[in-house]
Amino acid sequence: MIAALLLAAAAAPPSAPPPIWHAACAYCHENSKVGPPLNGPYDPAALRAIIRSGVDAMPPFHPSELSDEEIDALAQWLAARPAAR
């Protein structure tokens, strides 16, 4: 019974992405030539640092548009999703 539940959990698809994924990230990081595909897992602290400061063409995302908690949720979702294209 427990084993079956664990198997079911392992096979479960990742939950829906956080809203910021479609509102910003996916434009450059999914089927795009702008940014690299994001294949997690990522360290939430490192992800937060990049999102907050931006890098090269990627702009910084401010606390007023994306909270630390939302970034952590993004990191969790990226870690759980299948390899991006």
Binding site: K33, G54, A57, P60, S64
Partner: protein, 502 residues
């Protein structure tokens, strides 16, 4: 608490008192004054000195009442506020300020879509509303409406872009021209609604722009006379049909006949939008990596860019445009435009996918920012008449100066019937101080050379606003100063914006 005030005219204790009062209004979680957080918040792209344009803090109100309260505190302490909506304005200043230490008034938390009228095709939004939010709402309500937006569409919003008089690429490309009604908080807390907005019970605020008496909307664009807290805009009814084309001319000298062929088609409306005339290097940013084409120092040689563009079927000049309307009209106008452009030497390629020209959000153009690595960007944005000979003259002057400074010459001019906004991105490695200084010298040389030719500007970024205001003449500057003194006598709103100060 810092022992030093970031503002030259305010002591540290007063500055800290102001921040404390700001935090009391918005909540301490909506005030940023930690140096590391501030540095992240305000990463510079432009080639200007970082410290000279660094904000002293960021405060984010959630309502008009909070904006009014913040202005009151700002006046009491003489701590100026610099309004931004989403704080992007890539290549024109982002979240940098004209006078170091000015506190950013970030309006992103004011993000309500107050109305969308599917009958009159209008919207009323707060400054923090992004095009993405509007697109989501339009999709959720299944409304047959299009948005028009600038290249960073999903990340930015209509209020900020309109107030900078930015543009897009559908028939509603002129964002200020398609705005209708501002709500503005003045420095003394007065709330002004422009146009029809002062009429009690009006239903026409977003329908009729001019109201009664002087039309004031324009003075709140590219200015520092008030804080815009609501804006009306018009939305484009989705056309029955549309087609997007790319017309390519093979030679540098073809720009003259290209512009002269396009002009009458824009003047009579056969071509429905402000298409973009891009040179070979700019279009290559979307389809090639610079490092694969050229690994030398300095600007990419013209012959290498030309050859690379030709290999991909692109020209020295490439005009991307669309035809919109009823299906029969699109068919008829396509024949007219294709015939005229082919007669002027173009190869016309039909049905080109370009999301921006058909109201679909995209960030595809961000490949431009990585062309050289390092994330440096500044826009040089002269106005040109829609005459082929003048366009060619501007390009020649700009190309010579940019290449002499090691910058790749790029332009993506938007062309209307009478004027071209000849926007040229300077892309450089912001991480290299010597390159960044060289880019700044290039910008200044460009302004000098264009001023000497009698060419003015549509827009200017942080660090270059005083120079552009000077080019546009002392009389305009003096009148702006008089308006500033009348509406903001303490100078607490965006000092130095567009070269306007007390």
């Amino acid at each position: 608490m810092s022992s030093k005030s970031p503002l030259a005219h305010v002591d540290a204790a007063t500055f800290q008192q102001a921040l404390k009062a700001f935090a009391m209004i918005v909540g301490s979680e909506h005030l940023i004054d930690d140096p590391a957080d501030l540095a992240n918040f305000s990463r510079p792209l432009m080639p200007v000195d970082e410290q000279s344009h660094a904000p002293g803090a960021v405060v984010s109100p959630a309502s008009v009442e909070e904006v009014r309260a913040l202005l009151r505190v700002a006046a009491e302490h003489r701590v100026p506020l610099w309004p931004v909506s989403t704080g992007r304005n890539f290549g024109y200043g982002s979240t940098r300020v004209a006078v170091a230490g000015t506190v950013l008034l970030e309006l992103r938390r004011m993000d309500r879509i107050l109305d969308i009228d599917p009958v009159l095709c209008t919207a009323l939004v707060e400054p923090g509303v992004t095009y993405q939010m509007l697109a989501d709402r339009i999709a959720a309500e299944k409304l047959p409406l299009w948005l028009d937006f600038p290249a960073p569409g999903p990340l930015v919003g209509p209020t900020g872009n309109t107030l900078e008089r930015g543009g897009g690429t559908t028939p509603y490309f002129d964002h200020f021209g398609h705005s209708c009604g501002f709500e503005v908080v003045l420095a003394d807390g007065t709330v002004l609604r422009t146009g029809m907005g002062g009429v009690r019970g009006t239903k026409a605020w977003q329908a009729y722009r001019y109201g009664f008496g002087p039309t004031l909307d324009g003075i709140f664009t590219q200015s520092n006379f008030g804080v815009v807290t609501k804006m009306g805009l018009w939305l484009m009814p989705a056309p029955e049909a549309h087609r997007t084309f790319l017309a390519a001319w093979p030679n540098d000298a073809d720009l003259v006949r290209a512009v002269d062929a396009i002009r009458p088609l824009r003047l009579d409306g056969t071509i429905g939008n402000n298409g973009t005339i891009a040179n070979d290097i700019l279009v290559l940013t979307g389809v090639a990596k610079r490092s694969n084409l050229f690994d030398g120092t300095g600007a990419i040689p013209a012959n290498i860019a030309r050859k690379a563009a030709a290999a991909k079927g692109l020209g020295a000049w490439n005009y991307l445009y669309s035809i919109y309307g009823r299906a029969d009209r699109v068919t008829a106008d396509t024949a007219v435009v294709t015939g005229a452009l082919e007669a002027a030497g173009a190869t016309v390629m039909p049905d080109i996918p370009d999301p921006m020209q058909i109201g679909k959000l995209s960030l595809e153009t961000f490949t431009l920012f990585d062309w050289r690595g390092g994330g440096g960007l500044a826009w040089f944005s002269p106005v040109c008449t829609s005459r082929g000979d003048e366009a060619a003259a501007q390009m020649a002057v700009a190309r010579t100066i940019m290449e002499a400074h090691g910058i790749d010459f790029m332009t993506g001019a938007t062309m209307d019937g009478r004027e071209m906004l000849n926007v040229m991105p300077l892309v450089f490695d912001r991480g290299d101080p010597a390159v960044t200084e060289q880019a700044d010298r290039c910008m200044r040389a460009l302004y000098d050379a264009f001023a000497a030719k009698g060419w003015g500007f549509y827009r200017a970024g942080i660090g270059y606003m005083d120079r552009v205001a000077e080019i546009h003449g002392e009389a305009q500057r003096a009148v702006n100063r008089r308006l500033k003194r009348a509406l903001d006598p303490l100078g607490i709103i965006a000092p130095g914006k567009s070269g306007i100060a007390l």
